[in-house]
């Protein structure tokens, strides 16, 4: 028996119960209904079929990455719409009710499942918290929201010229974005197995636009928190409907004050079934009830710092030695001054310098492919962390002689992979600096930088840097010349 057969047998055994449910008359009827409704929905928007995934553009953490914006122009006139901030906590109901007397209500809307909301639905939603199952209590479930602009959450200037992210598709996604575009910024947390945020565009009581902003699903219940906002739907845009970008650009953008932001939480009840626990509806016409913004929850948010007016002192660059198997040349470099491209500035000034501490570092098994795609899911490279080496989890960057756009893109860890951190924000980088997505295919000498040093290696070199705080030391690892690093 091979792995294919083993997987097949395991999957069949594990999903044995699912078969009965899927074959049931009830499920069949639901599917038939959903198909009929789906076809009517396609008729509403003209039935065009093309690329799905417009709702992939989510806000919150993603909103600070303007490169995923649509190419729809926003006509701005007057002050942008604003509402909130709001904060709703499920357990607040216990202020008015005993646990056993908490009123339970049927959901007025479903963001998932058989009766999932769609364009054309007539809804009357109650702002605030609605509890559907007593299992919602005691989970510290909460939802925060604020109607703001994309510029409010990105804190960066847009690029001067829109540029297609894919050079082979000049009419596709571009890195242009409109800082005045209204969005719902959101943040949610608690013990759950799934949370979804969806913006509904309403025409009186009729849904005319649906845009799922964010969804998180965990393999088991656990306490999580994270961004949970949404962009504003366009009129006629109904989630799960496939609309081409061309058609999207012709749709009328919705008035954000005509939207409702709906957040739903799922988790296990006493019987162990995953059920819809609670719904929170945010109505921008309601007065604000909170004093801080959802984005204030983001742990990596940094206040802008004063930029140094001085360029780094030029230094004589050290002789760079190409990697030898798993051995790489590492340098200890003092931290940079704040600027819009602090590490790129240091590199241009000659760092790593000939007089910097240098030593040999082993990175066994590091994937020897520096990918050309420095954004989205594409890991920049894989660095082995099985034995928890000193650099695991440290803030990291890539810098090269030439990297278009943001010149020293920060990286973030996903397991053993380092991928581009699309926020582009980190200490030393002024929040007012212009941001563009990094170009693929860096050129010239390429360095992986960690904020931190291998103190054992530094001490062994006998050249302690005493006048600099250890926390202000960085390790530059020479990965080689870009054209010699496999893609």
């Amino acid at each position: 028996m091979n792995l294919h057969d083993l997987l097949g047998r395991y999957g069949a055994d594990a999903a044995a119960g699912s078969r009965n449910r899927l074959e049931s008359a009830e499920v069949r009827e639901v599917l038939e209904t959903r198909v009929r409704r789906g076809r009517r929905r396609r008729a509403v928007v003209g039935g065009v079929g093309a690329v799905a995934g417009v709702s992939l553009v989510a806000v919150g953490v993603w909103a600070v990455a303007p490169g995923l914006g649509s190419s729809v122009d926003v006509a701005t006139s007057g002050d942008p719409a604003a509402a909130g901030p709001y904060r709703y906590v499920v357990d607040d109901v216990l202020d008015d009710h005993a646990v056993n007397d908490v009123p339970l209500r049927q959901p007025e809307v479903y963001l998932r499942g058989d009766d999932e909301v769609m364009c054309g639905d007539e809804l009357s939603l109650t702002p605030g918290v609605t509890i559907h199952d007593q299992a919602a209590l005691g989970r510290a479930l909460y939802f925060e929201a604020e109607l703001v602009t994309l510029g409010d959450v990105t804190r960066s200037d847009p690029p001067a010229t829109p540029k297609p992210l894919d050079p082979d598709n000049p009419d596709g996604l571009s890195n242009s974005w409109d800082p005045s575009e209204p969005i719902w910024d959101g943040w949610a947390g608690g013990v759950m197995s799934r949370q979804i945020s969806t913006a509904l565009l309403m025409d009186a009581a009729t849904v005319v636009g649906v845009l799922e902003g964010s969804m998180v699903q965990t393999s088991m219940e656990q306490e999580v928190e994270g961004s949970a906002g949404s962009r504003v739907p366009t009129v006629g845009h109904c989630d799960l409907t496939e609309i081409s970008w061309e058609d999207l650009s012709e749709l009328e953008r919705g008035d954000p004050m005509d939207t409702l932001l709906v957040s739903q939480f799922w988790g296990e009840n006493q019987e162990g079934d995953v059920v819809l626990l609670a719904t929170i509806v945010v109505d921008p016409h309601q007065p604000a009830n909170h004093s801080t913004s959802p984005r204030d929850n983001q742990p990596d948010w940094q206040d802008p710092i004063e930029r140094s007016p001085f360029a780094p002192e030029p230094v004589v660059q050290a002789e760079l030695l190409p990697p030898d198997g798993d051995s790489y040349q590492a340098f200890v470099v003092p931290g940079p001054e704040a600027s819009c491209a602090p590490f790129a500035d240091q590199l241009a000034a000659g760092q790593p310098g000939a007089h910097n501490i240098q030593y040999e570092i082993e990175l066994p098994g590091m994937t020897e492919e520096l990918t050309g795609e420095l954004w989205m899911d594409e890991p920049v490279l894989s660095v082995p962390t099985g034995d928890s080496p000193w650099y695991k989890g440290l803030q990291a960057w890539i810098v090269a002689d030439e990297v278009g756009g943001i010149e020293d893109p920060p990286l973030q860890w996903h397991d053993d992979d380092l991928s581009a951190d699309f926020t582009g924000s980190y200490p030393m980088r002024d929040g007012a600096c212009a941001f563009t997505a990094p170009d693929p295919l860096p050129q010239g000498s390429v360095f992986l930088i960690f904020h931190g040093v291998d103190m054992a290696a530094v001490e062994a070199s006998g050249l302690m840097v005493e006048w600099v705080e250890p926390s202000d030391l960085y390790t530059w690892i020479y990965l080689g010349e870009a054209e010699q690093i496999k893609y």
């Binding site: 395991y10 969804m215 296990e268 010699q484």
Partner: protein
């Protein structure tokens, strides 16, 4: 055959296989069922000319893969807070939830979502590494790394003889000085 009859035949014929596929991809029975249903709706809404249930099953499997990958890309980086901060007494023990009687199941539970997806696409869907990379929008080297790490973990629970010969060279050292 009417579309209604086709849907019925599809469910009767392929529910078990589709549910199994959904479970392998998502690691969760209910999420797997949701994935099956969403994919069926996606396929049938488009009024494709489906000659028979076998063809429909193929379309649905492809739609399941696409939906799963789309959702994986959309998921934000959510910070997991420390366990034990919840007042509820009936939070299930994580160890009990993870432990299964099946060695493959135990091994799959230790994989990250991306590793799991890569394993399923490569060894269950029998896609080439290049195709897996294309589907997941990753570099082939990254996929190789995922598969290598996943097989290492699987080998802890499963007889390595099961996938002898399926090891993939992770690093190509040609051309390095």
């Amino acid at each position: 055959m009417s579309e209604v009859d086709l849907l019925g035949e599809l469910l009767e014929r392929a529910s078990a296989r589709l549910a199994a596929y959904g479970y392998l991809l998502t690691g969760d029975q209910y999420a797997g069922e949701d994935l099956v249903q969403d994919a069926i709706v996606k396929v049938f809404v488009r009024r494709r000319k489906l000659p028979n249930a076998a063809a429909a099953e193929g379309y649905v499997r492809t739609a399941m893969r696409t939906l799963h990958l789309d959702r994986m890309r959309r998921d934000k980086v959510w910070r997991r807070l420390a366990p034990g901060q919840v007042a509820r007494d009936d939070v299930p023990d994580a160890a009990e939830r993870i432990a299964t009687a099946d060695a493959v199941g135990r091994a799959l539970e230790t994989l990250s979502p991306r590793q799991r997806t890569a394993v399923v696409l490569r060894f269950y869907d029998d896609l080439t590494v290049a195709d897996v990379a294309h589907e997941m929008r990753l570099a082939t080297g990254t996929v190789k790394r995922y598969l290598s790490d996943a097989l290492d973990r699987l080998a802890v629970e499963v007889d390595p003889a099961v996938f002898d010969g399926e090891r993939i060279s992770v690093v190509d050292r040609e051309g390095r000085s």
